[in-house]
Subunit: 334 residues, 4 copies
């Protein structure tokens, strides 16, 4: 961490400030220029509150050298994290293909889609039970009953299930859920992240619409600081000025996050674009960029899905895509 | 609502679709062009799920004429909502000046600041007890104890208090809090909004970093649909590419939201800019644009605040600002 | 085009408006609802000025059904445009690999890089002679002399050359340049676009930092409306709030633009990310998404390039990438 | 400027690098930490190419302490710049009210509007002769004839005129124009800026849709580096995800730019919002934030304007606004 002091700082102020920094187990290297004094801080600066230092009268600017995340940082854990979800692995060369409908709608529906996506190569089943919807008047999901139906589909097909939690109070219902999804709108629901950090459940953490990559990693850090290292990062589109797509899927987040962190990184091309015809090319694109997996909406009858239908694939289209991804990955030796 | 059908839709498909729409108590007006058929839907389209209709095979596009929010809509409630908070009013020409420190840090601090801002013209006291912080290693607020201290400051000064809730489970602690703040990161925490809709507490609802004005109004609608009409909207900056300010404070949201909705609209120039020297001009700017109030960070000792110090005003600067706002408002007859 | 009239429009106003529309060779279909009247306009609405209609007192809203671009529109030209640049083709399955240094710096440099990228599979040579730089104090390119050196490299290697024009007055210097690049900052330099439309030179048109896909296509339309159909669209990153990358490369623009238009679409992963380690994964990603080509910065000595060094590849890295792209494209049958 | 070297940099590399820096007339202060070496550079770093340094193998990061602009920098010119435009002043407490139609349409129109806005308190007349339009099929302005008509309106009313240049080749036509406007799309048309720097004409420089405040100041620097110090900065809205307004008017740019630079800063609430009902509140808001002026679209007949009608004020509304701005400015002692 580098602290730039204001031009008129007195020697006494500098000395007091340095003593305070040393009391936090930091080494301080001082460099005096003609107008500015620069302090280089060495040690575990992860836990230094940069805002607090910026607020001091004598400080002009502060710059981190080290990233503010530690458990999620590849520098301290060079090897890829591999998460084993009931035998289905993700990370370290293991590619996860998570598929299923936007919402669980009935036992027939979820079990049918589960069978179809399993045949087509899916390694996990997704399906929404609790649904975050912009409007209070829109379908809010089957909720508790939806989770029960997902567990039936799991029992029938053996596919691990991924579904979204919307509030801390729902946590007991997720006991038999394999991967708990934290949606984009909850990426910075810190109370929820802290509680999830106390479990050992794999957490699929989606990037917020206005979330920087660093903030996504800091939210992973919240979970990991609690003791749960099983975090899967998910790029699902950020909000920009472009209107032809619902969001702008930031594929560059895949290689960037993987260089910064050892955690697996997956991509959601369905919500990331909101346009069915873009799901295939963006899924291939994500795979080519080195993603550790994909989460894709597949519906037996996209035209009648209760939500987000416009971005769902048919089971046949998903099967073709699954096959093409395998070819792509082996061609470029991923 | 206008539905544009695809060029090759058969007569039978059109008829089936129209029957289904009529079953939802909507009137349907059909207009056939050479290539496209257009349906005009009349009735209470607020509850129509636009995504569901877009998902249908025969539909090319759907456009709302009416806004998707109803309780928050000025069309149905032309008069300004006035919220009375223990005698302190907001809306309908009543200007609220909410001030206080970013975080509650001690009894001495919060009571001192409360007295100072009251003298300077504040109508309510703000102070963070539960603090959303990007890093798990940063100060997380005094939490339950912070709320206790705010209530002491209220007892001493008579100022109503405003403080942020971060999770549903904290609700019982807010029994004597006058205004519950929902932070930007929780603007779409729908489970929280639903519960708050069951109370009668005034809710200060902040716009999310990537929240559109329509989404802010839809989140207000979640609260109001539950029966709680006491919602105060707050513009606090959106995230853009600009880096000289922490966020871009969207002052145009004030007149736009007020034209769309009858709810009071306030502005947070402290978080909205993240820069102390911008707080005064942006506070004046918000007042000139017709805001119903301001929420401003004031600290007795900005240089030692535990968080967000860089954007806090001193009590003296706040007093001068309070006075200038009064002059401005009377000059332009607000 | 659908025009929604305001509720209180008189019959006479509607009739006058419809007559005016018919005078523009449009057919008008009227649909009267209880509160609103909707007009459906059929015919060549490309040339209707939507802003003019929106400005009318009686109009509440206007919505296009057809896109406002015509020459660039795939609906009217279903087959891919293939552009032949001295025997090097792009579009319709022909993949262009354009490589070279950010800036032309000397004859030795540009000829060396030209030979190296040709060996590695490049189909065209890029190099900046006129350089748009944010600061007036930064290196502005070798300008006229830079173009002369590019032509020498072309003579030596046979590679067609691509270089950027910054102002209309420079056009005579581009007589022997094979592809004229219009940079992101000039995407809406309409006077320049109009003049380029009068030539028959292939134009490589880059998307602006805040340019929507529709605006990019409208800028292509400016060139094509003048009679020059040889336009290559280029996605090179849009500006968002993310700071770990210089821009956010919008890979979804590739399949979206290709579905909307018949023009070739290429990607610039060098400027699109500003980070050398992201160039390879993003190049693969673009190819997997169906791009018709790539434009990549390659430098013999990235550490000493006069500009944009951080995002340049070495010739060896480029050769490996070129080879991997071929494998990827044949694996997924592009 | 602070340069952070990579951990494994050898003593020889450090020494070579420092010698090279000193050869650019910079003083170098070295600070060695356990892992990193930090160099503090003192001197005129404005002309150091930060990208070039970042590109070096041994450099991990570079951070400016001083802003990269010099002529536009308030640090070196503490007093406000006042520009005198034929007796009409702007800056240093002089408020400019520039008003007129979006486009010049006829002699009657421009002369009528000129008289009306002059009566209402306008200090300058605006009007578009060359019009940048997204579509090649939209009205492109009266061009040369439009400038002739503006000069007639100037002759009649004595109001100085402001109009936009779109290309260098049009410069001779602007000989008698008082203020040359550079539109948002040309903010980084560097060849144009350089030429304008060779004149002594006041330049009204608009911020680009994706232009940072620093980039706006760097573009002013292009003009000033050529010797023309008469630059007026103009905030006119940036592009964000919000769709209820055409752009997001960044009012915080006013106080921020004024703290960074001595140049006058004005605001365009018409283009900045694209919504007529927002022009008044945003104009007041800009004035309250300390703007040195406003540029506002006023049309005698907004419903029939050839472009941008939806955001124009009537002359009466403009007169009321002009009056209210005066009251506001004197109430808060601007």
């Amino acid at each position: 961490m580098i602290v730039l002091l204001k031009p008129n700082t007195s020697n006494e102020q500098v000395a007091n400030f340095e003593n305070w920094l040393r009391s936090m187990q930091l080494q301080v290297h001082e460099s005096r220029g003609e107008t500015h004094t620069i302090l280089g801080l060495v040690g575990d600066t992860t836990k230094v509150d940069i805002e607090l230092i910026k607020a001091l009268d004598i400080v002009e600017d502060v710059k981190r050298i080290q990233e503010p995340f530690k458990n999620a940082n590849r520098k301290f854990h060079p090897d890829d994290t591999v998460i084993d979800i009931n035998g289905s692995k993700i990370g370290g060369g293991n590619f996860a293909l998570i598929a299923g409908p936007c919402s669980v709608e009935s036992e027939e529906q979820i079990c049918l889609v589960a069978r179809l996506v399993k045949q087509a190569g899916a390694t996990m089943l997704r399906g929404g039970a609790f649904k975050p919807r912009t409007s209070p008047y829109a379908f809010q999901g089957m909720r508790e009953e939806g989770i029960r139906l997902l567990l039936e589909a799991k029992a029938e097909t053996g596919l691990p299930i991924v579904t979204e939690i919307m509030d801390l109070s729902q946590l007991p219902l997720f006991e038999n859920v394999d991967v708990i999804q934290v949606g984009a709108r909850n990426m910075q629901n810190f109370e929820l992240l802290k509680e999830l950090g106390k479990t050992q459940k794999p957490i699929l953490l989606k990037r917020a619409l206005a979330g920087t990559m660093q903030e996504l990693l800091m939210s992973a850090e919240y979970i990991m600081a609690g003791g749960n290292e099983n975090v899967i990062l998910c790029e699902r589109g950020i909000r920009t000025f472009e209107t032809y797509t619902r969001n702008t899927l930031d594929i560059s987040a895949v290689p960037m996050l993987k260089s910064l962190s050892h955690l697996p990184v997956i991509v959601d091309p369905s919500h990331g674009t909101g346009v069915a015809k873009l799901v295939r090319p963006m899924a291939l694109s994500a795979a080519a960029a080195g993603a550790d997996g994909l989460i894709i909406e597949v519906h037996n009858d996209p035209a009648h899905a209760k939500c987000d239908g416009p971005q769902s694939l048919t089971p046949d289209a998903f099967a073709e895509l699954s096959d093409t991804i395998s070819k792509l990955r082996s061609a470029i030796q991923l």
